[in-house]
């Protein structure tokens, strides 16, 4: 990754989200519209790790600057913010409130923070692995009139201009824009570092500012949440190469996909 010019101080915002661990077994809560949280381990959204790693690498390349992790949510997000601080973020902001099912309402809250922040870059995750909304980043950019590219798998910044790559069906799209800009980060961008023991100790002393906020009117409402139908149990058609004719027969006559 090419970097900012050395000694130009950079300020980078990383909006992060606390999500259930990807191995968590999802069960529906009694209200019929949310997930049971008891017994679930919560982690930093995996795509936000790519964003954070990219931000840290850019700051290190520039030689000076600040990486700010920002989370909008209840008090439990402070634990996730500490994880980001342990990975190397310099400070954290807890936008204290209840996120909405309407991504635009959440984007408005984040945009309000970004607007006054003096950031060169805002790096989101491509998607949150709980709500799969894939919208908070580009909405925030649109609200602020900032250039935006989503799901980037490559990023370089030189002289105030960013060049990115993003995967599309059948190829890789390239794009450029000037800073400040908003990107959402995909797998392939980098390999996120793990928090070191030293980082974990240091994180306890780093600044974490709490700002009460509230999401405005929601135009999306969760009607229900349910578990998808189970796949009917399949059959083992046989063992080894000898089973190939039986498989072919099933694919041709029963499944009709050949």
């Amino acid at each position: 990754m090419d970097n900012f010019k050395r000694n130009k101080s950079v300020k980078i915002c990383i909006p992060i989200r606390r999500v259930p661990d990807t191995t968590a077994k999802v069960t529906i809560a009694a209200d019929g519209s949310s997930v049971n949280e008891t017994g679930i381990k919560f982690v930093l959204n995996p795509y936000d790790e790519f964003a954070l790693e990219a931000g840290l690498a850019l700051r290190e390349g520039a030689g000076a600057g600040e990486v700010v992790a920002v989370a909008f949510g209840p008090d439990s997000v402070q634990e996730t913010l500490r994880t980001a601080l342990a990975m190397g973020a310099d400070s954290a902001v807890h936008l204290q409130g209840k996120p909405s099912a309407d991504g635009l309402a959440n984007a408005r809250v984040l945009a309000e923070h970004v607007k006054g922040g003096g950031y060169d870059l805002v790096l989101f995750g491509k998607l949150a692995v709980d709500d799969y909304n894939q919208q908070t980043g580009p909405m925030t950019a649109e609200l602020l009139g900032l250039p935006c590219a989503t799901a980037i798998s490559s990023l370089s910044v030189t002289g105030g201009v960013a060049t990115v790559e993003r995967e599309v069906e059948g190829g890789v799209e390239t794009a450029t824009c000037s800073l400040p800009a908003v990107f959402t980060c995909d797998k392939g961008l980098n390999t996120p570092r793990l928090p070191s023991l030293k980082g974990i100790m240091a994180a306890k002393k780093k600044p974490l500012e709490v700002v009460p906020v509230s999401a405005g009117e929601a135009m999306a409402r969760v009607v229900s949440l349910s578990l998808p139908p189970e796949r009917a149990a399949g059959v083992i058609v046989g063992e080894g190469a000898a089973a190939v004719p039986a498989l072919m027969e099933a694919l041709i006559s029963k499944a009709k996909v050949l």
């Binding site: 998808p228 058609v237 190939v244």
Partner: protein, 322 residues
């Protein structure tokens, strides 16, 4: 009466996949109240296939032709749609890489909610209810959208062509806008002829291959399907650098739903299943009879992939030759 705008995607003058689904979904919403369906295409040249949009269910095709639309131009499309959004009760796109990029920008610009990657739409009074898989497909969310929502419809959801309509064509002037992001081009992948996200058949391999060069075994099976199969992979082999990350299927890779999915030397970790469990037919080949992949597979063969897959490739070639 609610009319629906469908924003279509084109590349190099050809319509992209997903138009059928988005138009069919729009038709469903519009017909509930006697509204009409308009399809918008922005391009730098004539787009082939546009004359067929009527038979897919569009009443009108709005074309914006301008050099600014040679490549995907999100700022330009957002400006175009925002100008006319007041005439519509919802805006639909196909949930492709580009559609997923565009939908939230449109929603923020119009000031409506965004229903991302939906697998069903239903008009409910003056609102629209959508169904969407979340938590990597571990749960289905039903969401009620009010205002002027922007909805990204997952390709493959409404494949049936809707009733034929006239499909009158109309040209629209290009809007004035500030181009904040400049897409400079697309590098098409050198070897992958079929993209995992678009293939009818996926032949996916995992750590059971043992060595990157053994992907040749899978490529041969894919080739037996003659241009309709793509090679996919588990994260374990992508992270090991055996194959490019665009091939990864799963939670942090692609979500796919081909007609036929082969999981070969793939154990079936929950994050892998998240990306492929809605495939129509799943075939697993694994030497461990207790591998979790067999729990979601319709058909399984327990055995050494190096023995089974070549025999299978040969059988597919024979079947195809008939």
């Amino acid at each position: 009466m609610s009319s629906i705008l469908v924003v279509l995607e084109q590349r190099d003058g050809a319509l992209r996949k997903g138009a059928v689904d988005a138009i069919a979904a729009a038709r469903l919403i519009a017909d509930a109240s006697g509204g009409q369906v308009d399809a918008l295409v922005a391009s730098d040249r004539a787009v082939s296939g546009v004359d067929g949009l009527g038979t897919m269910g569009a009443d009108r095709v709005l074309s914006v032709t301008d050099a600014a639309f040679a490549h995907y131009n999100p700022d330009g499309i957002v400006a175009t749609v925002t100008d006319i959004a007041g005439q519509y009760s919802a805006v639909l796109v196909a949930a492709t890489a580009t559609g997923k990029d565009l939908a939230p920008r449109l929603a923020a610009s119009i000031g409506g909610p965004c229903g991302m990657d939906v697998t069903a739409v239903e008009p409910t009074g003056d609102k629209i209810t959508v169904t969407r898989p979340i938590y990597a497909g571990k749960a289905l969310q039903v969401l009620e959208l009010s205002g002027t929502p922007v909805i990204a419809v997952r390709p493959g959801t409404y494949p049936a062509a809707a009733a034929g309509k006239a499909g009158a064509q109309e040209a629209l002037a290009a809007p004035t806008f500030t181009r904040r992001l400049e897409v400079t081009g697309i590098r098409t992948s050198a070897k992958a002829s079929v993209d995992v996200a678009e293939a009818r058949v996926i032949v996916a391999g995992g750590r059971g291959l043992g060595d990157p060069k053994h992907f040749a075994v899978l490529e041969d099976l894919a080739a037996a399907f003659g241009g309709e199969a793509a090679v996919g992979a588990s994260r374990a082999v992508v992270d090991a650098g055996w194959i490019e990350h665009g091939a990864q299927v799963g939670q942090t890779g692609k979500t796919v739903a081909p007609e036929l999915y082969f999981a070969i030397g793939v154990s079936g970790a929950i994050q892998h299943l998240a990306g492929m469990r809605t495939s129509k037919v799943i075939v697993a080949i694994n030497r461990d009879k207790d591998a979790p992949i067999f729990k979601v597979a319709d058909y399984g063969i327990v055995g050494d992939l190096f023995e089974v897959v070549p025999a299978l490739a040969e059988a597919v070639r024979k079947a195809k030759a008939h």
